[in-house]
Subunit: 395 residues, 2 copies
Amino acid sequence: MNFLNDNMREELAKHFAKILQVMDKHEVDTLLVASNANIYYCSMRFFRGYVLLSKGKAPVWFVIRPTNVKPENDIIRIRKPEDIPAWMENNGYPSPSVFGLEKDDLTYSEICRLKKLFPDASLGDASKILREARMTKTDWELNEMRKDGIHHCAAYKRFTGVYREDMTDVEFQIELERILRIEGALGYSRTSGNLMEINLGSVINGDNADNPTPYDFSMGGAGVHPSLPVGANGTIMKPGTSVMVDMSGAFNGYQTDMTRVWRIGEVSGTAYKAHECSRHILRRLEEIGKPGVSCAELYEVAIQIAREEGLEDYFMGHRQKAPFIGHGVGIQLNEMPVLTPRSRDILQEGMTLAIEPKFVIPGVGAVGVENTYVVRSNGLENLTPYPEEMADLFR
Amino acid sequence: MNFLNDNMREELAKHFAKILQVMDKHEVDTLLVASNANIYYCSMRFFRGYVLLSKGKAPVWFVIRPTNVKPENDIIRIRKPEDIPAWMENNGYPSPSVFGLEKDDLTYSEICRLKKLFPDASLGDASKILREARMTKTDWELNEMRKDGIHHCAAYKRFTGVYREDMTDVEFQIELERILRIEGALGYSRTSGNLMEINLGSVINGDNADNPTPYDFSMGGAGVHPSLPVGANGTIMKPGTSVMVDMSGAFNGYQTDMTRVWRIGEVSGTAYKAHECSRHILRRLEEIGKPGVSCAELYEVAIQIAREEGLEDYFMGHRQKAPFIGHGVGIQLNEMPVLTPRSRDILQEGMTLAIEPKFVIPGVGAVGVENTYVVRSNGLENLTPYPEEMADLFR
């Protein structure tokens, strides 16, 4: 198996340049990357093992599995992480002074084991460094996400075709999952943290939107079982309600995030108004979302528009509210930055943002639109261009 | 929201009795449970928060989200884990001497934060304690898994109906996923560790079975993208090959694990022989798998049968081999014990085991059967009774 080719090495050099810059800022001289998402960022493939970044030295891939990887100068087959220090010593790699490990991504046991490789080094946080480096995307990464967006929209286009009268939300979601998989969705979406147990996304109909969830998703839903209390709950989709579809766009190691809403027959005027308000917010943020603007400001502008239209009570949930209106997205569904009032992050060119101003209208359901954007010098570029009107699922 | 009813409390008392017994053995006096799978084991629901077990005191649930949980004596709404020590002091709960946290389930950062709640306590390992307590199942848990097995078999019965000539393995898998979801699969399967990224299971056709994977699954497969290198790879399913279907049975917070194999037309004599050998192994283990027998012995008996039939080279993989023939299963797909030659675990009544003696036959594919069993006083009870013959997918 050819582990890395020249094109991959060229792209990875850009990732490493960004990581090394952040390492410098945090005064970490050596990084050992091991979590699944960061292994992918540092290798353009998933393997079991470690990527070593040592300041002033070439990156090294230590591979435990698969067993058919062909060793090269910088691609080293190992049996266990304890093999790494001897290799480094034999190959002129300095012993770490500040040794960065992924404190937010690896378990306590894993970090304790890896710390012992260099007992004299102090421990740095690789999670923070990788989050910061991954916050802006390279042209290649943006292109992967652009492809995700194209597939994502192509799947959404076919969603209305599988609706049948008196279907449950779960039955509808099953058909949407199938469409996404046929369109090429990999069937697994990487998330960060323990509070995002999800597969291919969520469908929320009617008042189920107002059922709070313990998870970190923007919208709730009771789910069908107390072991997985989020999303569709078996509601029969009735006229007068909305159906919010927030399904995954994970087609290639990266992903886009996208929400559209359909109505069943006519819904209340407040629901229409709130859905249009979500679109006003997006149009406004598309204009002002430029490098240098703060994430907190995007949040404030959004909630101010909701407030002016008298819709604040329904904004980002009703009984339980989500404390953000958007988030970074890329290899993982939830990346940096997060669009919260307390964020200190500033928009930079090449950031990717899923922006999701949503409302929960009692008696109707959830409404609003979510698109995935790239921050460009002149505003936001939409990676998920697809009609945003709340169309009738019947027709 | 009614968090716990009397039936739940009665069942949970059995879980806590087992946990407290293992805590005693490991000399841990206080446990704070936070990982998703263990929260479910200690609550029969998932929520964001913590379950406190303090020796000689009643268990306490500290709930952060959802926000609509009604507080009771032992159901306490908190904003953050730092609220816990004051509550304990005010309610006569002793300060921990050995404080057990889930070292193998929580991140380094999470444990470091929770450790600070009781800076004077020494740190115990809650992961080990919960794994050991969860290794044997209560009657209620077994009944949940029995229901999983019934749904699992009902789904498998419909799998052949969606096969079409010249379909790819991915196209076939998509239809199986849909059948499972319609049968009630929740759409998410909890696993332990970072090396099991999976959604609803795996379909492996022909020589793709011999592609090594970096993951901890028993069988490999290249996958369709380097970011997720496992399982179906887009192979067109041709006559003369086998199709191994190892799809998830996660219907209710617990799960069963089950594999069946179909052939397309006729396959080689070695493939038939190996498939029948897998069934011989299962029949033999069903007889000898009683309380008191060691997990290592089950492995040795299995590999000895494969050896006697001249099939050792193909057993549990060909180019890359899995070092086990089975594993515990329950809330997570991979629980204790593991059936390896080095295991020190001894079978106990009420353990649940997925046993999967499999073979990879070059030119044909993977063959073999996997069932989920309960260890009973007189042998193994099969929770996934379904015809095991390698039938023709064409007919």
